[in-house]
Amino acid sequence: MNLPSALVRFDDARPRALTIARDVAAEGANVLLVRDVLGRFALIVDDRAQDVPTARAAVWRERLATDLQRYSADRPLLLASELFSADDLLGSERAQPDPLHIPAAGHGSVLILDNTVVGEDWAQVSTPAVETDGSRTHRTALYGFKGGVGRTTAAAVLARHLTDQGHIVLVVDLDLESPGAGPLIAAGSVPPRHGIVDQLVESAVDNANGLELVGPTGYEPRTGRGELWVAPARGRDTKDVPYSYVDKLNRVYADIPGMDFADRLATAVQACEDAVARESESGRRPDVVLLDSRAGIHDIAAVAISRLCDLALLFGADNRQTWGGYGDLFTAWHASGQARAIREKLRMVASMVPDTPHHSMDDYLQSFREHSWECFSVLYDDDVPEAESGRLIPGAFSPSLEDDSAPHYPIPILFEPGLVGLDADRAPGWQDRAFVQAAYRDFLTTATLLITADPQSNEGPR
């Protein structure tokens, strides 16, 4: 007697589909598993080099339909020889190898192509390349899974510190839904006429020339030739025409012909950097760009971390929301085969670290470190002794808990109640106060070294 099998739900479908794909690959053919925007799977079998018997194809087709139920596509099995554009699909840059599949001899490969409405940028990791003149703009994204972890304040303190070190620094406010970095950093100075949203809407109609995207902050570094620039999300109001921020924001996420959202955002950041070179007294491009990314699993964050930056500082407090959120994010990177590429860009920041007589910073950081390691271990190599020799293979990227250069190892920022709800306009010189300096000391030293170091991989945007 057959018991009615349980319904296949979204989460069940992927592992089931992968199992079938691997089994088919084990028979010798390369396969591509395609998931549509609703989550349904179709398997494309590359039969161009070797014939697939009709009977085998029928068996696989049947198995896909049975095992995946509602999550099998209308045509669950396709043969490359019958497709009009097989090369485009099978050779697509968006297709990623199955991260958990190590083909044995004689087996075909397994690729996955995930079609989504949004958020696909998480699955496309790349690192900005050096400029054509050989210089490098170091782009660092500051990201927090949850808002309210002091990310923007840290960006402001860090930007000034880097300026004091003689760098030309540009802070780009990418927190479009709740802009904050612009006003905080520019405190007191006149914001530029236009913001990132203006660049995004104007460029969509090929009208971006002549925008005033960046403004000097008026910050005078203590020594050296540093400059601090800001590219706010929102531009400046004028007397005559109302500045319609919401109307603009509603239009920034659209794909336009030849350019998806990620390309548009990359172009906007580039435009801001070019504007600094054009408008600054030094005539130099920024050395360091800080991207204040918005929180959460959002396309802007996806583009900022996966593609625009060579370093992403991930802010968090030691709590369930932080680790749950990063856990989801890391799992997605892992599933899309991006673990190796992304882990070299990431570094955890423990923000709002308590340090009181009864709750010491060391205790807090110890707990933070363990949770962080647990979360990051998804992206680390599985360091397992070789079956034959029983010995470890040297060279695994599997950092220990105490490895102070590992992505999970937190850079601390002390919790400072005096900074909660800071109104920068009414607290001039706040960043120079002793308590602020003490709270950010480790962060500034370590982050500066990380930001100004060259990225480990240097492949350039794809």
Binding site: S377, D383, S400, E402, A453
Partner: protein
């Protein structure tokens, strides 16, 4: 005029100056290499009765140095501890065979079997050191102990007289104890014997002014003795620890480099100016910045190994990398692991990266950790062969690992039987007596076995309860670490 040392010069100096990786016990202190880290000062106070330290941190080193007049003089000078100059030091127990001064392993076993009270036994050792005339007439410790038990009054008077005379002479009698893991193969008996030493030490501390004991002891053995001598907790308050900070470790390295007998060492000293020759003209003392200032040390080490473990800062810092990777579960680094890692790093760089711009290549340093891990495992295996027996069944597994999985693996391998058999092997006696080491306290209780391993720093417990192993043990035992990304071979 001084020319900078090139990469090959530094390699020459390092491989000549770094000690060969031999057994720590046979590495005798020597006037040139005696290094005095600030953090060990308290351990040398005459009133620091208990000095705790794990394997390989320098217990025996200081024990021997205190027994040597010249070395003790150096320590007194360098630490500014005048009392060290006015000591009469005698060994109360140690690894050396000194049947006239203290009973050896087989004698101890016999005395324990006969039910001798440990306190009486050590009391006899103390009185022998203080020159009790009657005791010298007996060759056998059994007879000496019997005399002590039978003559409490005479014993007391001897102590009192010695104390008074020492006061008049302005000296202190210091009886020192080391190598306590050799006392008895049965852990509970070893604990009782240690309890006796501590009891005597406390009695002298409270009852005399100028008779003191100093006990060099592994932390787990000190904890074990507390079970047998509750008053030992009175000794906890001023117990000193031999620990090695990063600054101490690098201070030791530079001390070795500056004290080698070669022109390279001489050039190294003039490059890093500020070295002083000690009061006896035999040692070179590194300048304070090189001895203990992390920033200056990091700068100096960057001259030798480059600043980063690769292309740049994102790959990690050479200065912190080595200690971080050699740290055990209780966050201690043994100086011998540290030096042996550097030794390997030089050899590896010479062999594979001879053209490298620095004396040490970061891959060489990485390989050094592998060697240091083997050194460490061997080191611990010498003291506690049972640790090896307990960890070996985990080979091929991955950490973090559930405690239940560990105990299940032990059950499958019949670890309890193995441990008991190991004890029996020692029980067979004979020549093995000199190798007696302390077994686990609870060989048939896996959960407590794990606690013992955690105390020893071999294992550590994650906050979620799972068991982890620090790299310094994990690597040599071939235990992997769980991660999410499968490694593609080749």
């Amino acid at each position: 005029m001084t020319t900078a040392l090139g990469a090959e010069d530094y390699r020459e100096l390092l491989s000549a100056a770094l000690p060969e990786s031999t057994d720590a016990d046979t590495l005798l202190p020597d006037i040139h290499t005696l290094f005095t880290p600030d953090s060990h000062r308290v351990a040398l106070y005459v009133d620091s009765t208990v000095v705790r330290g794990g394997r390989g941190v320098g217990k025996t080193f200081w024990y021997r140095s205190l027994l040597d007049d010249a070395l003790r003089e150096v320590a007194a000078e360098e630490y500014g501890i005048e009392r060290l100059r006015r000591l009469v030091v005698s060994p109360g127990y140690g690894a050396d065979v000194e049947p006239d001064l203290y009973p050896g392993t087989s004698v101890l076993r016999q005395l324990v079997e006969e039910g001798v009270r440990p306190y009486d036994l050590w009391h006899a050792v103390l009185l022998t050191a203080l020159g009790q005339p009657e005791l010298h007439e007996f060759a056998e410790w059994r007879d000496r102990v019997t005399w002590v038990r039978a003559n409490p009054g005479a014993a007391e008077r001897t102590v009192q007289r010695a104390d008074r005379e020492a006061l008049q002479d302005g000296v202190t009698h210091l009886v020192i104890f080391d190598a306590l893991e050799h006392l008895h193969r049965v852990r509970a008996q070893a604990d009782r014997l240690v309890g006796g030493i501590l009891e005597l030490a406390l009695a002298m501390r409270l009852g005399t002014r100028n008779i003191r004991c100093k006990v060099f002891i592994r932390p787990d053995m000190f904890d074990g003795a507390l079970l047998h001598f509750p008053d030992a907790s009175k000794l906890t308050a001023n117990a000193a620890s031999l620990t090695w900070s990063n600054a101490n470790l690098y201070g030791l390295l530079f001390h070795y480099m500056g004290n080698h007998d070669s022109t390279y060492a001489q050039r190294f000293r003039s490059l890093t100016s500020g070295w002083e020759t000690d009061a006896f003209g035999s040692r070179h003392i590194p300048p304070a910045l090189l001895r203990g200032d992390e920033r200056s040390q990091a700068e100096q080490f960057a001259q030798i190994a480059g600043p980063y473990m690769g292309a740049n800062y994102r790959k990690g810092n050479t200065y912190t990398w080595l200690p971080n990777h050699l740290m055990d579960g209780v966050e201690q680094v043994s100086p011998r692991s540290f030096l042996s890692a550097l030794n390997k790093a030089v050899a590896e760089t010479r062999g594979t990266y001879a053209g490298h711009e620095y004396a040490l290549h970061h891959e060489g340093i990485r390989r050094g950790v592998q060697t240091a891990s083997e050194t460490r495992v061997q080191e611990v295996g010498e003291d506690m062969p049972w640790v090896r027996l307990a960890i070996d069944p985990l080979a091929g597994r991955q950490v973090p690992i559930e405690q239940d999985t560990v105990t299940e693996l032990w059950r499958e391998m019949r670890l309890t039987d193995v441990l008991l058999k190991e004890t029996e092997r020692y029980e067979a006696g004979g020549e093995e007596d000199s190798l007696v080491r302390t077994g686990p306290r609870y060989p048939n209780d896996p959960d407590r076995l794990i606690e013992e391993l955690i105390t020893l720093g071999v294992m550590r417990r994650r906050r979620d309860g799972r068991i982890d192993l620090p790299d310094v043990y994990r690597i040599a035992f071939n235990i992997g670490r769980k991660g999410g990304v499968p490694r593609v071979s080749g």
